[in-house]
Each structure stands twice: as structure tokens, then as C-alpha cells.
Amino acid sequence: MRYLLISFFFLGLGSCSLKTTKDLLGVDLSKSIVKNPYFSDIKKDYVYKAKIEVYGNNFGGILIVKKQSEGIHRVVFTTEFGNKLFDFLYEEDNFTVNYIVKELDKKMIVNTFQKDFKLLISEQQNVVNQYQSKNFEVYKTANLNRNNFYFYNKKSATLDKIVSTSKRKEKVIILFDNSKDNNANLIVINHKNINLNIELVKFKK
């Protein structure tokens, strides 16, 4: 009986530890900075068709990201008709809501989108730990109360995934798919603690 209890205790502990690093092997740091190249070109307009699913409700729109100068990004979300729903400005660590439609102007909504898009557009972070698996080089970065794990595909050398976690739990996963020449053609932002999923498909020329 006592052994059974002890095993349950360990099982419990096991499920508390962070899933993200479970199958990863810690290695020495090979670089001090990890980069996200997908929204870093000033010359490009990044335009995506967005599909958002929140607690079973679907809505769509167009997400536009533009790097205006070093350290400055605009993130604008419009309806399919082009009507602006929000217009965010990121300047280094400053964040400004240029515009948000009254219907979306709720603290929780703004905070969630603000954090998601900050993670999406942040170009570089300091690496604190490094890991490896069969297919990935993984770089861990530390922010205020979140850790981010950048999964670089060994074969294609593309950034395939960013996992944002608290100490014990995965909070947000961003998947980059079908990436070529620093363009991510499909991006999925998946929330683990709330029922929110954002799918972004790049406009074809």
C-alpha cells in the first residue's frame, strides 16, 4: 500500500513537470541569441487571412503585420471588408492601442492578443538554456514570468515552433508551417489555458 502511494506521488510529480522539455536533452549553449526571422523584413507587407476560434465561436478577418523600422511593428486586424477591428503599435517594450473597435475593447481580449502578437513578432531573445532532440535544436529564453522555447528544425534550419510556458505548464504554442525564405505560409497560434485558436494563412501573390 505504501509503495502504491509513493508511486502515485511520483506519478503526480511527473505530470507536474513541463511537457515541453520531456523528450529533450540538455546541451551546452551554442549561441546567446535566438532569432525569429518571419516578420523582420522592413520591405515586406505581411498579410494573412485569419480564422479565429474562441470557445466554439468562429470569426475571420485579415491580419496585417508590418515592420516600420528597427524595433517597431504595426499589427492590424480588419474584417474581410477591410474595416479595422484593432490597430496595435509595438515599439521595443512599449505597446500602444492606436485603435480598437468598442466591441473588442475588453482588458482580457486586448491582453491576450497583445501577448500573442508580441511573441509572434519578437525578433530576438537571449538564450538561457539549450536542448536537442532527434529533429530539433531548442533554445530556451526567459521573460518576466514566461519561458519561451524556440524549436529550430535541424534539417530545414527553419523555426517550426515557439512554445510559451509558465514554470510548469504550456500556455501558448505557435506553429510555423510550410516556411520558405523566411516566410511562414501557415501559422497556428494555439492556447492551452483558454479555448482560443488562431489560424493564419499567408496571402498568395
Binding site: 520591405k43 507587407d45 498579410v47 485579415i62 496585417i64 474581410e80 477591410g82 474595416n83 490597430d87 485603435y99
Partner: protein, 208 residues
């Protein structure tokens, strides 16, 4: 120097006037009659459209295109086919959306803003939107088209869309262009082409 600038400004003003002239009272009244007649006899419309979204910070306008279908009195379907598949049917107080295969219904009665926008989108298809209680309206004409500028009197709505600009074919009275301008001066411009009136359209087109 000041004189030269004054002359320059004078020419600029004349230049603008030569292109666009305000309608006088009788022109406004006959134009309104024309639109009223056209929208009364228009039972259905199908038309292609190209939409340009202009944002001042972008290098290029965002271009999407598709087909618009209208059936009197007030059913409208916007179907985007490039660069993605998306359609929205405005039907009574519901929006029927098909977003690349994901279908949903949205009741629009809950939001005054979207209710207003939907009404305007429906009305702009026929051009019958000269509601002077809701808008300040300016009528003008150019060599090629008649132009109406509607500025919303509702302060909340004006934060969303400041003005609507509609261009009408002088001869047929058909809407050829709709421009929605935001307070920031960013805008959406929709240009219609290949319009066909009063062909037979089945109700099934307006189901999701």
C-alpha cells in the same frame, strides 16, 4: 513671392474644380430620382468586384476580389474568391458566413455598429442610401461619374467609418465604386465590373 504662391493656389483650386463640380439643387433632385427609379426596378444584380484595402504604412494596397449577388428587397451575398474563399450572406438579421468551409451564423441584432454597417453595405449595392437623418450628404459630378459623399452623424459610427464615397454611372445610375474612409484616412475601395441586372436568381444562392 507671396503673389506667386497665391496664384499657384488659385490654379490648384481651379484645377480641382475643373474635375469635380458640386451639383446644383435641380441636378441633385434629378440624380436622386434616377437612383430611386433604378433601385426600384432592380430585382437582382450580379457583379464582379475588386477590393483594395489601403493602409498608410503598407507598401501595397491589399487586393481581394470576387462576386457580389443581390436579390430584392435586401439579400446580399459577397463572395471572395481571391486570394481566399470566403462568403457572407446578409439575410434579414443574420449573417451566414462560409470561411473556407467553416460555416457559421451571426445574429447582427446584438451590435448596433455592425447593424449599421450591414445596412450600409446592403444599401450601397443599389445606391439607395441618401438618409439625411443619418448622414451629411454632398453631391458632385465629374466628367465620368456622379459622386456622393456621406458623412456619418452618429459619433460612434464615425469612429469606425468617417465617410462613405459612392461613384455612380451617369447613364445607368449603377454604383461603380464604394469607398469607406476611416478617421485615420485609411480606406477600403470596392470597384464593381461586369454588372448584370434582373437575371433570374434562385433563393438557394442565399443559403449557407
Amino acid at each position: 513671392m507671396r503673389n506667386i504662391m497665391f496664384l499657384g493656389m488659385l490654379f490648384l483650386t481651379f484645377g480641382a474644380n475643373a474635375q469635380e463640380v458640386k451639383m446644383n439643387a435641380s441636378e441633385i433632385s434629378s440624380f436622386k430620382n434616377q437612383i430611386k427609379e433604378v433601385s426600384e426596378k432592380t430585382k437582382t444584380i450580379t457583379s464582379d468586384f475588386i477590393q483594395y484595402k489601403h493602409l498608410d504604412f503598407l507598401t501595397e494596397d491589399i487586393k481581394t476580389s470576387g462576386k457580389m449577388t443581390f436579390k430584392a428587397p435586401n439579400w446580399v451575398k459577397w463572395e471572395y474568391t481571391k486570394p481566399y474563399q470566403y462568403s457572407v450572406i446578409f439575410k434579414d438579421n443574420v449573417l451566414l458566413i462560409n470561411d473556407g468551409g467553416t460555416k457559421s451564423d451571426v445574429k447582427i441584432s446584438s451590435s448596433k455598429l455592425f447593424k449599421q454597417l450591414n445596412k450600409l453595405i446592403i444599401n450601397s449595392v443599389t445606391g439607395d442610401m441618401f438618409d439625411e437623418e443619418q448622414f451629411d450628404i454632398l453631391y458632385s459630378k465629374t466628367e465620368n461619374y456622379n459622386k456622393v459623399i456621406l458623412t456619418s452623424k452618429d459619433k460612434n459610427f464615425a469612429k469606425f467609418i468617417k465617410t462613405f464615397e459612392l461613384h455612380f454611372n451617369k447613364k445607368t445610375g449603377a454604383v461603380i465604386e464604394v469607398k469607406m474612409i476611416e478617421p485615420s484616412e485609411d480606406f477600403t475601395k470596392i470597384i464593381f465590373s461586369n454588372r448584370v441586372d434582373n437575371s433570374t436568381l434562385s433563393d438557394a444562392i442565399f443559403t449557407n
